[in-house]
């Protein structure tokens, strides 16, 4: 079976600098893969390459077995993307934002669907008809996650999804992601949160200066050991 997401010897240049260097991994259907790395390691760039915004300088990225460059639109339609900086419209309320972006994706949903999704991310009801410019960072992030849920795509690309969320919300989010994977969605999330990655992911890849330098998989019925990953992360970063 082809993997929904695959990077094959992926290399990437941005403004003449090597950002990714011969990176290979794949994410199976229903799997949660966390790409872990420090600032500037190339995590966000990897996601942008899957979305067709950046062109590999070597190797390839594949979505559902097809090279992204050959059909960007169909790759994007299979993916819901949660960007690093949440960037919904400040002058619109949560419903209006969901409405606009869903319509943009060619989907439609009812008010009840919106509320269900916003309930799942625990955005307070009384906030939902207020403009996003009055939202806290975490509330904006929750709205953006709700949008990704409503897209109902087979693949989720999440860039620092828990940034701005409080500890309770982070735990709830991790449960939510596991539910989604359980229901068959394929999830690639990038983060520098070692603990979070180990909590939620089936596999963790360690990215350092554009190279995939380590990989950790959860054993059956267990979580990935945070200590081990943290040690690897810290050691590599220290070099």
């Amino acid at each position: 079976m082809t993997s929904p997401l695959e990077a094959r010897s992926l290399s990437l240049d941005r403004d003449g600098n090597t950002v990714l260097d011969n990176v290979s991994f794949s994410v199976a259907k229903g799997e949660i893969f966390a790409l872990l790395g420090g600032n500037g390691a190339g995590k966000s760039s990897t996601l942008l390459t899957f979305l067709g915004f950046l062109e590999p300088s070597g190797g390839a990225v594949l979505v559902n077995g097809k090279t992204v460059g050959s059909d960007v639109a169909s790759a994007r339609s299979a993916i819901a993307y949660l960007p690093e900086a949440t960037s919904l419209y400040g002058h619109m309320n949560a419903y209006e934002n969901l409405d606009y972006f869903l319509n943009l994706a060619g989907r439609s949903a009812t008010q009840a669907d919106y509320d269900t999704a916003l309930d799942r991310v625990a955005l307070p009801r009384e906030a939902r008809s207020r403009r996003l410019q009055f939202f806290s960072k975490g509330m904006r992030q929750k709205t953006a996650i709700a949008l990704a849920l409503l897209r109902e795509t087979p693949i989720l690309l999440l860039d620092e999804p828990t940034s701005g969320l409080d500890p309770v919300a982070i735990d709830e989010f991790h449960d939510l992601v596991k539910d989604l994977a359980g229901a068959g969605q394929t999830i690639l999330m990038v983060t520098h949160d070692v603990y979070g990655a180990c909590q939620v992911a089936d596999r963790v890849g360690l990215l350092r200066r554009g190279q995939l330098v380590g990989s950790f998989a959860a054993e059956k019925g267990k979580r990935i050991d945070t200590e081990t990953v943290h040690a690897a992360f810290a050691e590599r970063e220290a070099v």
Binding site: L51, F53, V72, P83, A85, S87, L88, H91, N103
Partner: protein, 416 residues
């Protein structure tokens, strides 16, 4: 596509910045159209008053006349070009070329060109009529509506999410820009359509004018689209676009005007006036046979009636008036040809500037272009020739003055 458009209409309805420019377009259009309609009504009122005075004045002047020569001398005749049903949208050359004359059977060219000196020249920018709004101001509003569609989303770091969600940039930017272009066109056109139906402009003219406006905005849209592909900040894009607007809307037309005027020098209207006046004045002192010989070259049919025996005879008087016209004819032809040549060259250059193109198209539709004004002057010449054709038999055959025949004096019939 329909749902994309509906989505972007809803989006536009919440974009206060865009709504401001659109409201401004609507208000400016109302102002321009109101101004044009008022101006045309003024001109129509002036013409109506002149028509009324014309008959009364002439009746008054003819009352005491005892001979044909005196009747022709004292009777003024009104000639005018009524504004077209679309003139309110493009006042055009009606600002700088005369559209009304009171002519007598004296030397004509002086009477035509005398009016030139009295008309104001509004120069580069012209009046604030709809044509000016559509040609010069509308592109600027379009630039302000479109220039940072992409750049603003980039700055807000929303660009990638938007495009990733839409799948392709065309599904997003095309409807988003199209809605703005259509809204701007519509808000500019609604006052024009309203005024047109008030004034009774023909449907085909309105349709053509609407196409010209939308087409020109389409071209400006293309320009903005190409420029804003450059990956630069909003302010750089805006500067580049305003620069381009200045070039295409102001500088190219101004330079073209200077270049054309240098290439096609126009004989001075005053020169014609002076030459004609001199010719006519000199005729008093010249041997009468000389004047009559020159006149007979043009009118051999009066050869047998051309002997002048008295110190003053009307037929000699009118003959030297016409000789005055004949003497300036080369200058007049040159003047006319140069104006047509200028107009032709301006028409070619208009393809370089959407602004000039729109302005010229509107003037053509409104009958306020150079060609229409020249056609009007020609119609004054034709009318004057009819006056001469009526009076010459009376004067040369020395027909007895008959008050009843005065009713047969031709009157000016405006074209259209």
């Amino acid at each position: 596509m329909v749902s994309d458009l509906l989505r972007e209409i809803r989006f536009l309805a919440k974009d206060r910045g865009a709504l401001f420019w659109l409201a401004l377009a609507f208000v400016l259009s109302i102002i321009a159209v109101t101004f044009g309609v008022t101006e045309v009504r003024d001109q129509q009122r002036t013409i109506a008053e002149l028509i009324e005075e014309d008959t009364a004045d002439r009746a008054n002047a003819l009352k005491g006349q005892e001979d044909w020569g005196g009747a022709a001398y004292y009777a003024f005749h009104l000639a005018y070009a009524p504004p077209s049903e679309f003139a309110f949208a493009a006042l055009g050359q009606r600002d700088s070329s005369p559209w009304k004359h009171r002519v007598r059977m004296l030397a004509l060219e002086g009477q035509i060109h005398q009016a030139d000196t009295k008309n104001a020249d509004f120069g580069l920018v012209g009046r604030f009529d709809f044509a000016f709004l559509a040609a010069s101001v509308a592109p600027l509003l379009l630039i302000l509506l479109l220039y940072d569609l992409r750049a603003a989303e980039r700055t807000a770091r929303r660009h990638d999410l938007l495009v990733a969600t839409a799948g392709s940039s065309r599904k997003l930017w095309l409807p988003r820009a199209l809605v703005r272009v259509l809204a701007l066109s519509l808000l500019l056109l609604i006052p024009l359509w309203a005024a047109s139906s008030l004034v009774g402009t023909s449907g085909s003219v309105i349709i053509q004018a609407s196409f010209v406006l939308v087409g020109a905005l389409g071209i400006w849209w293309l320009i903005v689209e190409l420029i804003s592909r450059i990956d630069a900040s909003s302010s750089v894009l805006l500067t580049a676009l305003i620069g381009l607007w200045l070039a295409l809307a102001i500088i190219v037309p101004a330079l073209a005007k200077v270049a054309i005027e240098t290439r096609q020098p126009l004989p001075n209207g005053g020169e014609m006036l002076l030459l004609q006046r001199e010719t006519v004045n000199d005729a008093w002192d010249l041997p009468k046979e000389m004047t009559m010989a020159a006149f007979l070259e043009e009118h051999p049919e009066w050869r047998d009636h051309a002997a002048i025996e008295q110190p003053f005879e009307w037929k000699w008087y009118y003959a030297f008036q016409q000789v005055g016209d004949l003497r300036v004819k080369p200058l007049v032809d040159q003047y006319r040809a140069a104006r047509l040549a200028r107009d032709h060259e301006a028409g070619m250059i208009a393809f370089l500037s959407p602004t000039s193109f729109v302005e010229r198209s509107f003037e053509k539709l409104a009958g306020t272009d150079a060609a229409s004004m020249i056609a009007y002057e020609d119609s004054v010449r034709d009318f004057h020739a009819q006056l001469r054709a009526f009076h010459y038999p009376m004067l040369f055959r020395e027909e007895p003055f008959d008050r009843n025949l005065l009713e047969d004096i031709p009157g000016f019939v405006p074209s259209r």
